[in-house]
C-alpha cells in the first residue's frame, strides 16, 4: 500500500522540485523559462498539500481543495504573464530580463 512508503520520501521529492524551481528562476534569463520555473515551484507545493492530506487526515479534503485553488491561480497567473510577455516583445523585440530595465532606476 501507499502507506508503506514513508512520508519523508514524498517530502524529499517535493523539496527537491522546489529547489530546482528556485535555482532555475535565478539562473535562466528568458522570461518564459522563468515562468516555467515558477510553475515547478507551485507544483512542489501542491504535492505537499496532497501528501499531508493523504497521510494525516484521510477523511477530509482540505488539501485537495487548496491544491485545486493553487491550480486555478497558476492558470490565471500564466494567462496574465503571457499577455505581459507579448506586450514586452512588441516593445523590445526580445524577452530577456537584462534588456527590460526602463523602470529599474
Amino acid at each position: 500500500m501507499i502507506q508503506d512508503i514513508p512520508i519523508q520520501y514524498f517530502l524529499i521529492v517535493s523539496t527537491t522540485m522546489f529547489f530546482i524551481g528556485v535555482c532555475g528562476f535565478i539562473i535562466r534569463r528568458n522570461l518564459i523559462t522563468m515562468l516555467m520555473a515558477i510553475e515547478l515551484i507551485l507544483n512542489a507545493v501542491n504535492i505537499n498539500f496532497v501528501v499531508f492530506n493523504k497521510f494525516l487526515f484521510p477523511h477530509q479534503l482540505q488539501g485537495h481543495f487548496f491544491a485545486l485553488i493553487v491550480v486555478a491561480i497558476a492558470a490565471a497567473e500564466a494567462s496574465v504573464a503571457i499577455a505581459l510577455f507579448i506586450n514586452i516583445y512588441r516593445r523590445f523585440t526580445n524577452i530577456e530580463v537584462e534588456n527590460i530595465s526602463e523602470m529599474k532606476y
Partner: protein, 164 residues
C-alpha cells in the same frame, strides 16, 4: 506500489532538472509536460483521482499549449541564449541549497507524526470533492471565479495594441 513511486519520482525530478538545464525553450516545455504527467501519476498514487485529471487538463492541456503557442508565435526558439556568469550560477545554487537543507531538516522531524492507517478509497472522486467544494468552501470557490474574470480582462487589456 513502491516501485511505481520510485519510477514516477525519478522521472519527475529528472525532467524538472532538464527544464532548467536545456538550452532551447521548446525542449523546456516538452520536459515540463513530462514532469506534470508524472506529478499527475503521483496524485493517482495518493488517491486524489479528480485532482490528477484536473491537473492534466489544466496544465498539459491549457497552460503548456499557451506556452508552446507563444514561443512559436514570437519565434523565441533560439539556442544561443547567453547564460549568466558562473558566479551567479554558483550563488543561485548556494542560496537555493540552503533553503533545500532547511526544508530537508524540517522533513526529517516528521517521524513523530501520527499517520492515519485506514482510509476510504473513494475520497478523491468528484462526488465527495464537490460536496466539500459547495458546502464548506463555497465562498473561496466562488471568489476564484472573480479571479478568473479579472485575469481574463487583464490579459485582454494587456495584450491589445496601444494606439499611439
Amino acid at each position: 506500489m513502491a516501485f511505481l513511486f520510485y519510477l514516477l519520482s525519478g522521472i519527475a525530478l529528472l525532467s524538472a532538472l532538464m527544464v532548467v538545464l536545456s538550452k532551447s525553450p521548446i525542449n523546456s516545455v516538452i520536459y515540463l509536460i513530462v514532469c506534470f504527467l508524472s506529478i499527475a501519476g503521483h496524485y493517482i498514487l495518493l488517491n486524489a483521482q479528480f485532482l490528477a485529471v484536473v491537473h492534466i487538463i489544466v496544465y498539459t492541456g491549457a497552460i503548456m499549449v499557451v506556452f508552446l503557442f507563444v514561443i512559436m508565435l514570437l519565434n523565441l526558439n533560439k539556442t544561443n541564449e547567453p547564460h549568466k556568469s558562473v558566479l551567479t550560477k554558483f550563488m543561485a545554487v548556494i542560496s537555493g541549497g540552503m533553503l533545500f537543507l532547511v526544508l530537508i531538516a524540517a522533513a526529517k522531524g516528521v517521524n513523530e507524526m501520527i499517520v492515519a492507517k485506514e482510509f476510504d478509497a473513494n475520497i478523491g472522486l468528484v462526488a465527495n470533492l464537490g460536496k466539500v467544494l459547495y458546502t464548506d468552501y463555497m465562498i473561496p470557490f466562488e471568489a476564484s471565479s472573480v479571479l478568473f474574470l479579472s485575469a481574463m480582462i487583464g490579459a485582454v487589456m494587456l495584450g491589445k495594441k496601444d494606439k499611439k
